[in-house]
Amino acid sequence: MSLDPSYLDYPKRGYGQDMDRYDWALAKDRAPVHLASGAKIAAMIVVACEYHPIDPKKAPFNHPHGMITPFPDLRHFTSRDYGNRVGVFRILAALREAGLSATFALSAALLERARPLADAILNDGHEIAAAGLHGDALHHAGLSEDEERALIARTREAFAAAGIEPVTWLSPARQQSFATPDLLTEAGFTRVLDWESDQIPLPLRTSHGPLSALPLLNELEDFKLLVERKQDEASWVRQILEAKDYLKTEYAARGASVLGFQLTPFVAGQPFRITALEALLAGLAQDTDVWCAGADVIASAFER
């Protein structure tokens, strides 16, 4: 048994990245960014309101929040739906109480199904981002470019029909194809939450102009910490506030940075997690070095 000899060919071996969406650069070497507001940390709270179908294709894989048991998986369908029906309103109330702005990434499938949710988000002045069609409409390299273009177009149409023109995109399960960034800018998106290559917004090269990649930290996602890794609520809150405090220590040398983390309504919106959520948001709101805003506003602030 042996591999094809080409397996040991390294055509892209050389200085810098092996792809051309952005160039290699050390964070320590760039000019520090100082925000007009004087804030040291831009906190980007992304509330991911996704619709997870009860009859998923799971192609090419199951969304981490998707169905688990055989059809009809009433258990997971309704547990996820709890977030968009009940839990998210607790998150909205907690954000209102703390006076913080966030980015709500919505599946297009929720716009008709749960219109009062979009209205509540907009009434509170938060940004709405597009989270694709739904949790099972994955973008991946197995799709033709036209198939993926159609997914994005249908998402755009659904938002347009709801009177919403999002500029920020979060892919379902944060999965992309090689073409996704090009197709996103072609459809008018200018911010993306799938790439967390840097601590500040990073412009990706695309066929239709720059796409700003804002760092949403996978390692701070509520579902990952609280459900997959079984950590407790106090530790979840402590880790996010520790990240905030650590980034402040870098400010003198590296300038302002983005602290992006996800709240998932069926996780963070559970009754027994609300006091922890309130403590987390208070920890951000009470820190005068922290400025909390939507993804688009944060990206713009770093572009100045």
Binding site: I54, T78, S79, Y82, R85, A114, K230, F272
Partner: protein, 315 residues
């Protein structure tokens, strides 16, 4: 992607308030699961009866410990806190362990069906088979206790697309199989008035001890926080809190005392809480709020018509 159309979207903000009897803010119920797992169950095509090949001796023995040892511990703890249970019952328990059923019935506990055995799943059943399980449930519990059951939690949370319509047709008042809400909500069945009854998976001891690996004290803390939040919200909305339990888990000797601290915490707020059975809660909402909820949905333009799984053809 097809919407199962189980219920209409009903955002938790700005709903008409559900007022519980005597102005209580929160309706609280305890759901001990009293289950029988067969030593050598037949194989369902969609799911094996045990994770290991039968006989799965440790799995079987731990569940039997729940019945032989754990149940009495839990029941006596509930006696100490003057709390009744609404039993999620594998109805074959009436045949296998009647002493337990008798002791619960004497205490005025409610029974609802959790199928015949927890090792007999609904997957792939035809309509006649699923009707047989429901009819067996009604008949068996009635014979053992005199109670007409009004609630259903499908065995091992396994369903078909017709489960909800069937139980509604048999005049069940509530299902514990839907987890979308902290208040009872109308389910879109072809007939009847079926409510989804909050039966939390999040604070279910199977999830907290099994899936989330909590220790007993963390579980007690989670229960207290769950209660505090739902009580706080209940003043404006009228909430339900359920703690689903399994004696083979919660009644382990290292766990029961921590659990009792949560019961004591909840009991200490007795003047604000309606300690009820699931059937009492469902009855109250069906009698006083079914139409109000429907009218509110109508006013808000949220009713979409149709019934659950109407987009699926029934095999």
């Amino acid at each position: 992607m097809t919407d199962p159309n189980l219920y209409d979207y009903n955002p938790y903000s700005a709903r008409p308030k559900i007022a519980w009897p005597e102005g209580k803010k929160l309706a609280f119920w305890l759901a001990p699961n009293i289950e029988f797992y067969e030593f050598d169950p037949p194989r369902n095509p969609k799911r094996p009866g045990w994770p290991r090949p039968a006989p799965d001796v440790t799995g079987y023995a731990q569940r039997d410990y729940g019945n032989r040892v754990g149940h009495w511990r839990l029941m006596e703890a509930m006696d100490r806190h003057d709390l009744r249970g609404s039993v999620s019952l594998n109805v074959a328990m009436c045949d296998h362990c009647p002493e337990i059923i008798e002791a619960c019935a004497q205490r005025g506990w409610e029974f609802f069906s959790h199928g015949v055995y927890n090792t007999r799943y609904s997957y792939e059943m035809d309509e006649a088979q699923e009707r047989a399980v429901i009819e067996d449930s009604i008949r068996t519990v009635e014979a053992a206790t005199g109670q007409r059951i009004r609630g259903y939690l499908a065995p091992a949370l396994t369903h078909t697309t017709r489960t909800l319509d069937l139980i509604a047709e048999y005049d069940f008042w509530y299902t514990c199989d839907l987890f979308q809400d902290d208040q009872p909500q109308p389910v879109k069945t072809k007939t009847g008035r079926l409510l989804s009854m909050p039966y939390s998976l999040e604070v279910n001891d199977v999830i907290t001890y099994g899936q989330l690996a909590m220790d007993p004290w963390r579980y007690a803390d989670v229960l207290k926080r769950q209660f505090d939040q739902l009580l706080k919200e209940g003043e404006a909305s009228g909430t339900v809190m359920c703690i689903p339990l399994h004696a083979y888990l919660v009644s382990q000797p290292h766990r029961l005392r921590a659990f009792e601290t949560a019961l004591a915490h909840i009991r200490a707020h007795g003047d604000e809480v309606w300690f009820a059975t699931a059937q009492e809660i469902a009855g109250h909402v069906r009698d006083h709020y079914w139409d109000a909820i429907q009218d509110d949905l109508d006013d808000k333009g949220l009713k979409t018509g149709g019934t659950a799984f109407d987009a699926w053809s029934q095999p």
